[in-house]
């Protein structure tokens, strides 16, 4: 029988946790394995839908593009005009899915657990922006991309969701969480590894 202890994260084979840049770029990188991730889709102009979600999670979905909102322990990332990713503590995704499914039984929406479909590479430290900019065409200047901002974009040849979770003013900041599809994680990690080493 498979033991729960034998679960494997996307980057279990890479031993990346807390790898610190050796190339004079001041940054470190780690995998945030098993963070709960749930895709929610629904009509943002349907106030009932928004209210239902608020009721279920005590969270206002971010409606402005490229932003996020948070009511600990859940945060919501804007992915598209009718699409969000809900982020929650490892293991709590089922509860989130269940409560939303229950609340949203009426109306047209969808809730899909994608916790295993993506992993998160957390990049932190003053050089984070520079490191990201080696493969990401977004404007990452603090004026253009700041705390709480989100973008679905590409880093090198991987599709990612980029979420800034701490500022330069924070200890060890800024911090970026990079969501990447499980099978691209190895590539993306090797990409960062090449840059920082």
């Amino acid at each position: 029988m498979a033991e729960p202890g034998k679960i494997r994260s996307a980057l279990a084979h890479c031993a990346i946790d807390g790898v610190v840049a050796k190339s004079g770029l001041d940054a470190s990188i780690s995998e945030q394995a098993f963070v709960g991730k749930v895709v929610l889709r629904g009509n943002p102009s349907d106030s009932e839908f928004l209210a239902t979600v608020r009721g279920a999670l005590e969270l206002d979905l971010p409606l402005a593009p490229n932003t996020s909102s948070e009511t600990p322990p859940v945060s919501a990332l804007w992915l598209g005009p009718d699409e969000w990713m809900l982020i929650c503590a490892p293991g709590s995704e089922a509860a989130v899915v269940d409560s939303l499914n229950a609340a949203l039984a009426e109306g047209h929406s969808t809730v899909v657990d994608v916790s295993d479909a993506y992993t998160v590479l957390r990049l932190s430290g003053p050089a984070s922006r520079t490191i990201l900019a080696k493969g990401c065409a977004l404007d990452l200047h603090p004026r253009a991309f700041a705390f709480g901002d989100v973008a679905r974009t590409m880093i090198a040849k991987a599709d990612v969701i980029l979420h800034q979770t701490a500022d330069e003013t924070d200890d060890g900041g800024p911090v970026f969480d990079v969501y990447v599809a499980r099978s691209f994680a190895d590539y993306l990690w090797r990409w960062f590894d090449k840059i920082i080493n």
Partner: protein, 1003 residues
């Protein structure tokens, strides 16, 4: 330390305390930090540097920067050798090794020099006129032509260097850090805008670096003091990025600028360490200020290509910036005032300036006055009509010009010299402006092309805008920088105009070809490609009148310098022969890059291990550990087969196939595309995207579907499961997972927005493990004791949820092999553990992992098609014999109408059949063509081809699937696959080879 004979005792921007040894053609020399290879060579009296492309003429250093057409060298050796490097832009470092190119056996004695003697036979385009007879000898001729190809040599080893890349965004990009660029950057930077200021040179300052500073002041101080203050101020601004050694090489659409920064090219190997060699910047600028300066144009006169003849501005730069005397006795030849500065600077450096030969009859500017005051003889209304010297110029012959400027007369005077500094005026460096698609205007006073109206968010300032005085450059620069920042949304006060004191210029006289009394004397226009005025004349004479034709016929402007010095001269000369105005002739198209860019830098890190992502499944390492061979399917690595010690591929695959039929096989199918489809219209949506009907499918049941493009051709297939009234889970082929999702989204968003359906990819959420075979049920039972697996409760094409190996799983009873099969889906994190548990539990059954090859054999035995293998974008479901899956009564679906087009509905289209070879052991090649009759020689009428072909261990013979014209009517017919070793006889059969009744599946 070895003496540098032509090094000036003082002055210059070199560091005399930092000597650097280098070698050229095997000889050792010394230069200083701050030198370029060109200045160091000249300091050592090396003027003869290379050979030209076509005639192998001796050539020296013409310019002092990016414009250099002649002084190209092979740099370095081994894996790090670089061909065609301009000596004028190669910074000197300790241990630098350089060699001349395009000469053999040596630079001085070069066999290729024979071409120069034969030049009469080798005019422009000569190769188009000859080497045609006899036709069969062309191959041989070409070998000889090819031998002459190329300049330097490409490395023969893999490039050991790494290349960095960086995206960037800014409000204002300033290209060029001469006075105009520096003023622009400062003005823009002061507004708080994000500014990038880049210059291709190691030091900022542009032409200021070549100034003696004697005749010029900026705001009461020396130009250099202003320069240093400005740079310091820029470096202090946190949002200003200062990038020396960075060339903006390409101005692309929507203000995207490609820039190459050289990080270690100027360092000795040991200092470079393992830093990246170069960095490619991909910059998006809101506004661009072009301050790229100007490039001096040579005069076109007889025998103007000898080593020692160089541009006057370059001569100045060598004297003032590098403290090198370009010769001992110089002649200056000019049509404008700027060259007098060279004369003055050389004279001040102790070079004997024999004379300034000026094409103009009246010479009134400040600089000529200063020159006369300095005692430099000025010959007004004179021209150089010939030069002498083999490997270095030894003298010039001058004669008086006539009034029209088209002839010379009087006595020829010979002047002895070892250096001729030439100026034909200055061309604004409009390359980037032109790349941005801005049109050029011709300014006839100076005979230059200047930027017209900008079409992108760009403005030009300084010499590149046709403004040549320092005061104008400073003002235009500051204005442009501020204006750009304002447009980008920043505020700043107008800056006070910077006062500059400088000599005033008189007018110039453009004589595009300097007359000579010698009719056969060659005048070079494109130095690198040896294009002379005669070649240009010939092209025009032969009807190649468009400047684009002239370029291509003569190759003028097509060298590694892209005609930076020669193009304007060439087009003016062509205009002259055509009797046309210069603007009517126009310029050839400016294209990126401004200067050549390393392939490796453009490829960046996307090579080797990072060329393309390698996607692996959650069980990937197990496959690796078990010695699997992998197959690339898109970006995925899929286990292809698992050879055991000593097994051939065929043996391994046979074993895997047999296991699946005889006991139980296990396959990693995680790569299957999976799409969660939900919404009140989900079933209606599936009805439209699949050919069959979906409304009545029960919850918990699965159905196979075929998806067409709207032209009726098969696009993808897969099993879809109904999870709820409004909820489906679609699977797609591995290769099409992403494109099918996009396809669904496209139809939903663009064509059927009224349908309430959401699609979400869950491909990677689940590890999918497929087990099949007579013992599959027993195996599943062992790891999922709570699931009820009997055929009555868990029939084919249904689904159950339950615990498998202790993990919540969704299990589909489906089969792609014809055996009882289960597809176990668990969250990816559990994939490996569940897989391991199945392997362990399957041990008693001899569970065998099988790869894609065995999977193919198994499905082919059953006649199951693979989208993309049996179908190739030209195949309909009817062609595949799958009429049963096309529901004509449910209403419209994608591709439906196309199936009825006159050709698509033909009865005699290619149809899927099976083939048996006459010899059961012969396995046809996939891709074999099939004919009815074999003839002696081609052509043969091909009626189809083999799409899949395998050895079937279960049948003990080979099997093949094929698409054959009217195939279904040919069962039993004998056909042939003509192969190079002879035809193979085949018989047409049904495409289902194994268990046609499907008894095993429902057992």
């Amino acid at each position: 330390m070895k003496r540098q004979r032509f090094r000036l005792p003082s002055g210059g921007r070199i560091d005399r305390g930092d000597a650097r040894a280098f070698s050229f053609n095997g000889r050792r020399y010394y230069g200083f930090s701050g030198d370029t290879l060109a200045s160091a060579l000249l300091a050592n009296g090396v003027h003869f540097v290379g050979r030209s492309f076509k005639y192998h003429r001796p050539r020296g250093v013409l310019g002092s920067g990016a414009e250099e057409p002649n002084a190209l060298v092979q740099l370095g050796a081994g894996a790090r050798t670089d061909p065609n490097m301009r000596a004028t832009t190669t910074e000197l470092f300790d241990g630098l090794r350089a060699a001349s190119q395009n000469c053999w056996p040596t630079l001085r004695f070069d066999i290729g020099g024979i071409n120069d003697r034969l030049s009469g036979l080798l005019p422009a385009g000569f190769y188009y006129k000859t080497f045609m007879q006899p036709a069969r000898l062309w191959k041989l001729y070409e070998k000889f032509i090819r031998r002459a190809a190329g300049l330097g040599r490409a490395p023969t080893e893999r490039d050991p260097d790494r290349y960095d890349q960086q995206y960037a965004h800014c409000d204002v990009l300033v290209v060029g850090a001469g006075p105009a660029g520096l003023a622009a950057a400062l003005a823009a930077g002061r507004t708080g805008a994000r500014v990038f200021v880049v210059d291709e040179q190691a030091e900022f300052g542009g032409t200021m670096l070549a100034e003696s500073g004697r005749h010029i002041r900026i705001r009461d101080t020396s130009p250099d003091a202003w320069r240093e203050d400005t740079i310091a101020a820029l470096e202090d601004m946190s949002d200003v990025t200062v990038l020396p050694r960075t060339t903006a090489f390409g101005y692309y659409t929507h203000n995207f600028i490609g820039m190459l920064e050289r990080l270690t090219d100027h360092l000795p190997r040991a200092e470079a360490g393992n830093q990246a060699r170069q960095r490619l910047w991909k910059l998006r600028a809101k506004e661009v200020v072009l301050a790229t300066g100007s490039i001096e144009r040579p005069l076109v006169f007889a025998e103007n290509d000898r080593p020692g003849i160089l541009l006057a501005g370059a001569a100045r730069e060598f004297v003032n910036r590098y403290a090198v005397a370009p010769g001992t006795r110089a002649v200056v030849f000019t049509n404008n005032d700027s060259a007098y500065a060279a004369a003055l600077d050389m004279a001040a450096a102790g070079v004997a300036v024999e004379a300034v030969i000026d094409l103009r009859t009246e010479v009134e500017g400040d600089l000529p006055r200063l020159a006369r005051e300095a005692g430099i003889p000025v010959l007004q209304g004179y021209a150089v009509v010939a030069t002498s010297g083999r490997h270095r110029v030894t003298g010039v012959t001058v004669m008086r010009l006539n009034d029209a400027g088209d002839g010379v007369s009087g006595t020829a005077r010979k002047l002895r010299c070892d250096c001729v500094a030439v100026s034909g005026g200055w061309n604004p460096a409009v390359h980037l402006f032109s790349q941005s698609r801005g049109k050029l205007n011709f300014q006839s006073e100076m005979n230059i092309f200047v930027p017209g109206e900008s079409v992108q968010a760009a403005r030009s300032a300084g010499a590149c805008n046709g403004s040549f005085s320092l005061a104008e450059c400073l003002k235009e620069g500051a204005d442009a920088g501020l204006a750009a920042a304002r447009v980008a949304g920043f505020e700043g006060a107008d800056a006070a105009t910077l006062a500059a004191i400088e000599p005033a210029d008189g007018p110039q006289r453009s004589l595009w070809r300097v007359p000579s009394e010698r009719k056969d004397a060659r005048m070079f226009v494109d130095f690198q490609n040896d294009v002379t005025t005669k070649d240009l004349d010939l092209a025009v004479r032969e009807g190649y009148r468009s400047i684009e034709h002239v370029k291509r016929y003569t190759t003028t402007g097509m060298g590694t310098d892209q005609g930076k010095t020669g193009n304007v001269n060439a087009l003016a000369i062509v205009a002259g022969s055509l009797g046309a105005e210069i603007p009517a002739v126009g310029v050839t198209t400016f294209r990126a890059p401004y200067t050549p860019v390393t392939f490796g830098a453009i490829a960046g890190r996307h090579v080797g291990g990072l060329f393309d992502p390698v996607r692996g499944t959650p069980m990937h390492e197990w496959h690796v550990q078990c010695g699997a061979k992998f197959e690339d399917v898109g970006q995925w690595k899929r286990a292809w087969y698992y050879p055991r010690e000593g097994e051939t591929m065929r043996q391994a695959v046979d074993r895997e196939v047999r296991a699946a039929r005889e006991s139980v096989g296990i396959l990693d199918y995680s790569t299957l595309g999976k799409i969660d489809i939900r919404g009140p219209d989900a079933a209606a949506f599936l009805n439209r995207v699949y050919t069959n009907a979906w409304t009545k499918l029960g919850v918990g049941r699965c159905r196979y579907g075929l998806m067409l493009r709207d032209d009726g051709m098969v696009m993808d297939d897969g099993v879809t499961l109904r999870l709820g009234e409004n909820h489906f889970l679609m699977t797609t082929t591995t290769g099409n997972a992403a494109s099918v999702l996009s396809w669904l989204e496209e139809w939903l968003q663009t064509e059927w927005p009224e349908l309430q359906v959401y699609c979400t990819s869950v491909t990677e959420q689940y590890a999918t493990i497929s087990i099949c075979g007579p013992n599959a049920r027993a195996l599943l039972g062992a790891v999922a004791p709570e699931m009820r697996l009997g055929g009555d409760v868990f029939p084919h094409m249904s689904m159950q949820e339950g615990m498998v190996a202790g993990v919540a799983a969704r299990v589909l009873r489906v089969s792609f092999t014809g055996e009882i099969g289960f597809e176990i889906n668990v969250p990816a994190r559990h994939g490996r553990a569940v897989w391991d548990a199945l392997i362990e539990a399957g041990a008693p059954h001899g569970i065998t992992s099988y790869g894609t090859e065995a999977m193919h054999v198994l499905r082919a035995e059953k006649g199951f098609v693979i989208a993309g293998q049996e179908s190739d974008g030209t195949v309909t479901p009817i062609d595949l014999g799958m009429d049963w899956i096309v529901n004509w009564t449910k209403g419209d679906f994608i591709g439906r109408r196309s199936l009825n087009r006159s050709d698509t509905a033909r009865e005699d289209r290619k149809q899927l059949v099976g083939l048996f070879t006459a010899d059961p052991q012969t396995v046809l090649d996939e891709g074999s063509q099939i004919v009815e009759r074999v003839s002696e020689a081609p052509p043969m009428d091909m009626i189809g081809h083999v799409t899949s072909s395998y050895y079937s261990p279960n049948l003990g013979r080979s099997i093949a699937l094929a698409m054959i014209r009217s195939g279904r009517g040919r069962l039993g017919e004998t056909l042939y696959a003509p192969m190079p070793d002879g035809p193979i006889e085949v018989t047409v059969t049904s495409p289902v080879f194994f268990d046609p009744e499907g008894t095993r599946l429902n057992g």
